[in-house]
């Protein structure tokens, strides 16, 4: 196993001789996307005319299907088949694994008469057209026997239980440290249930080729989806080919497969035709996962100079009754600020509602909405600048485990951000700045998000036309994977970008873990880099061992790669010639990356500082963003343009979390109150003004051979807290119940006599 020291030597990426690394090149697949020709899962070409599936969803929270009559639907125009739990083809039991190495177990659809949440699939219709499939739903008669359901998070918070297998993290003696502190903050925040609302609803197109099923589905993880379907169907995974080339947003919500995949595969098998199945927008809200609500109590104790003595973040959240997902909203606090006495932990409530799951920066996204505002309150109480308070509590080593930081530029992020944002123009007295009917204020918060490297492989083929084609069972969910892998491959082989191809999202390709947890670029990218290095060695051996090459007999270790050639001094040979001599298939190699044995000896994170200026309407209570700016440190940046898009996209998610995004459970049905994009308010264009970000120069030599880290989730971290702090600075009102909607702001203003 390698250690981080093995990564220390200069390599083609860190040397970046042709300058492809960091270059703001256009998106690799951009042309397809702007011309509308990138086929998403529902749109792929099928071998023959497809049929259309439509899923029917449960309308109760918990209970059983007492009766279901499909006969009217089955005889409806154009209908090919109708299934309920009574006649759906056999599938393996939930969670079953034929192959113990499967990453996911069986995920049957319509598996029983039991209803475990509103929106669960209860029937499926296959028809010749989408119109006929949808229309037949009205002819299905279902009667339910409803059981009591636990739906209201609020009423169970006090009785929340521990998280199985988890203990509170305690360092020092929090209670003693807190009560001995001169200045304290003790307050509770609430972050509501949120939905991913990816623009592309989950969808699958499936057909069978003999005993093998081909599925195109919208999913972030290739292997997980392939294995889940194979286990559900009870077939070996090499009889499932799963493709996911273009994905209309994931954000964690497509980290797993849903019933569209299972039912499309089953229906294609039964009908002998290709089948397309998509969830409707309404169904997406309850049939897929959401971010759970979190209640967070923060207690901070400091001395008169602002030095933290005690810090606690205790989070209570919820998940579905049989689920294991936990929104770890307190975890980030373990690594952020120094304090000798610390307490962090989570409590869980189980509800009969749809499944909670990962959503962009699970943990940090809601978690930082509490602690980063508590720090603002503490600064206010101390009469200190919020940045100065944070700098005073900047740890020298990771406060959780005393490990050294691989690199930590948090202070630099805050200082450069302050300067570029004009933080010195902030009036620290709340409510002091008016612009007509608007109260105007500024706020800041920090950002922290972990960095990870997972094992991954890649394949690389060089052909006689001089093209290098990288293949990987990886996904690009809008994150830029295609582009950065092309840049890495080009730089490693000394090839211009127009000679590099990237093919992703196919379970037949060398596996990578997919997109999630901000680990995609580092993981898939490092595998691509290592594969490029394997190719360099292979090409060097081919050239130096072949009498037809001008490099024959030379030391392969001395070879260089530039401008499409393999080079030694003034002698060179083109890679195209080398590849064509190797045979009609050219040269194919595979490579892989795995975490260094000692990687976790360092504390590894990405960091940032967020700054916001808002206006609060004194008449309506509306909060409007006026400008927003962030400075981030996230390792070496592979593509300045695409990385910035990821970061600003994340920041805007924070704006949504702070100001508009929220869902709630309807206590009558266990459904969500908002089941469309008119009710669930993700930010729209007019909500976002003057928002920009800067990425610092950085290379983290403990992270991976290229010194890169992830940027996909960092931008959302702390973003909403900066806005909430700006609201306080604007009007002197502390609101801890997100989102900060006009009704809450107005009530608070009135309570203050404003």
């Amino acid at each position: 196993m390698s250690t981080v020291r093995d990564w220390a030597a200069p390599n083609p990426i860190t040397e970046n001789r042709s300058g492809l690394i960091g270059k703001p090149v256009d998106r690799y697949e951009g042309r397809l996307k702007v011309t509308g020709t990138a086929p998403y899962a529902f749109e792929v070409e099928t071998p023959s005319a497809p049929l259309y599936g439509h899923i029917v969803s449960a309308t109760i929270a918990r209970g059983r299907i007492a009766g279901i009559d499909l006969s009217q639907a089955a005889s409806a125009p154009g209908v090919v088949l109708v299934w309920s739990h009574l006649n759906v083809p056999v599938q393996a039991q939930r969670g079953a694994k034929l192959n113990p190495r499967s990453q996911r177990g069986s995920n049957p659809a319509l598996g029983s008469d039991r209803v475990e949440h509103y929106g669960q699939s209860v029937a499926f219709i296959l028809a010749d057209t989408p119109e006929n499939a949808r229309a037949a739903e009205a002819r299905i008669r279902i009667t339910y026997e409803a059981s009591d359901a636990d739906l209201d998070f609020g009423s169970f918070i006090d009785s929340a239980g521990p998280v199985p297998g988890e203990e509170d993290a305690r360092i020092g003696d929090f209670e003693a440290g807190y009560s001995a502190s001169a200045v304290t903050v003790d307050a509770t925040w609430f972050s509501p249930l949120q939905n991913h609302a990816q623009m592309e609803p989950c969808a699958t197109t499936a057909w069978w080729e003999g005993d093998k099923v081909v599925v195109h589905t919208s999913i972030q993880m290739v292997k997980g989806g392939q294995h889940a379907l194979a286990e559900t169907l009870g077939i070996p995974s090499d009889r499932v080919r799963l493709l996911t080339r273009y994905i209309g947003g994931g954000f964690g919500g497509k980290g797993q497969s849903y019933d569209d995949l299972t039912l499309a595969a089953l229906a294609a098998r039964e009908s002998g035709r290709p089948v397309r199945v998509a969830y409707t927008r309404r169904q997406m809200f309850q049939a897929t996962v959401h971010r759970p609500a979190v209640q967070m109590r923060v207690r901070l104790g400091a001395d008169g100079t602002g030095r933290l003595n005690a810090m606690a973040l205790e989070a209570v959240t919820h998940c579905a009754r049989n689920s294991t997902f936990v929104e770890h909203a307190a975890e980030f606090a373990r690594n952020l600020y120094a304090a000798p006495h610390r307490l962090t932990g989570h409590r869980l409530v189980r509800l009969d509602i749809p499944h909670a799951g990962a959503m962009r920066a699970p943990g940090e996204a809601p978690g930082m909405l509490s602690l980063e505002c508590a720090m603002d309150e503490l600064a206010d109480r101390l009469g200190m600048d919020p940045i100065a308070l944070r700098i005073r509590n900047e740890p020298e080593v990771d406060p959780d485990n005393a490990k050294p930081f691989s690199i930590r530029q948090l202070v630099r992020c805050m200082q450069e951000g302050a300067q570029q944002f004009g933080w010195d123009r902030r009036n620290p007295t709340p409510g002091a700045v008016r612009d007509g009917r608007w109260y105007v204020g500024m706020g800041m918060a920090t950002a922290i998000r972990g960095n990870f490297l997972l094992p991954a492989k890649a394949g690389l083929r060089l052909t006689g036309d001089g093209l290098a084609t990288l293949t990987q069972g990886m996904t690009d969910i809008g994150t830029g994977t295609y582009t950065i892998l092309a840049q890495i491959t080009g730089e490693t082989l000394g090839l211009p970008l127009d000679q590099v191809r990237v093919e992703l999202g196919d379970s037949d390709m060398p596996p990578a873990p997919g997109s999630g947890g901000q680990f995609g670029a580092a993981t898939a990218g490092s595998a691509a880099f290592e594969t490029g290095m394997v190719m360099r060695r292979r090409l060097a051996e081919l050239a130096t061992s072949d009498p037809r090459s001008p490099l024959y007999g030379e030391d392969p270790l001395l070879m260089d790669f530039a401008n499409g050639n393999i080079v030694l001094g003034n002698r060179s040979e083109s890679l195209a010639t080398l590849a064509s001599r190797a045979g009609p298939e050219g040269v194919y190699v595979e490579g892989s990356i795995s975490p260094a044995a000692d990687a976790r000896d360092w504390s590894q994170h990405t960091y940032g500082a967020q700054f916001a200026e808002v206006g609060v309407d004194s008449v309506t209570g509306e909060v409007r963003l006026r400008r927003m700016f962030g400075v981030f440190a996230a390792g070496r940046i592979l593509n300045a343009k695409l990385a910035k898009s990821q970061i600003t996209g994340g920041m805007i998610w924070g704006v949504g979390a702070a100001l508009t995004e929220s869902n709630a459970v309807d206590p009558r049905y266990g459904s969500f109150l908002h089941q469309d994009l008119g009710g669930y308010l993700a930010p729209v264009h007019a909500d976002i003004v003057n928002l920009d970000a800067v990425l610092l120069d950085e290379a983290d030599d403990k992270a991976n051979p290229m010194g890169i880290k992830g940027v996909g989730e960092l931008g959302i971290c702390g973003s909403g807290a900066a806005i909430a702090n700006a609201v306080y600075n604007a009007c002197g009102v502390r609101l801890r119940d997100y989102p900060l909607t006009p009704d809450k702001v107005l009530a608070a203003l009135e309570a203050k006599g404003l």
């Binding site: 951009g30 996307k33 702007v34 057209t129 119109e131 609803p201 994905i247 809008g478 996209g649 930010p683």
Partner: protein
Amino acid sequence: MRTEIRVNGVDHAVDVDTRTSLLDFLREQLDLKGSKKGCDHGQCGACTVLVNGVRINACLSLAVMHDGDEVTTIEGLASGEALHPLQQAFLTEDAFQCGYCTPGQICSAVGLMAEIAAGQPSEATADLNAKVVLTDAEIRERMSGNLCRCSAYPQILAAVRRAAGAAA
């Protein structure tokens, strides 16, 4: 129902199910899958197309209502290999990530430019008696019917501005 409709310059005379939305007609029957279905009820703009030069949500309109109409979709904007200036600007400014909202954004922006050229005011127009100009506020307001969950709004603004500059 018999419907004659011209799409991207090609005439179609077809029998259409009266329940078929313009969006499903384009996607499933004409195989023009560039127009996206994000919500199927008028709340996201992913399905935006131009009907007789005016932008509409194709999901909110039935195909049979468009007898005699001329429809332009994202597939009809480029001329051969040459991208429409807005397509090029979206590419240059990185005004998208997953790309799912993008065809709708671009068609919407084409419609927006036509509205400005025709002097149609919006909520963001400060002076109704003056000539309507393409300010950032106008772009933000007029593009707010097109959701982008990837949140490429700053880049979309830059792209529309860039294309407008090129057109001016």
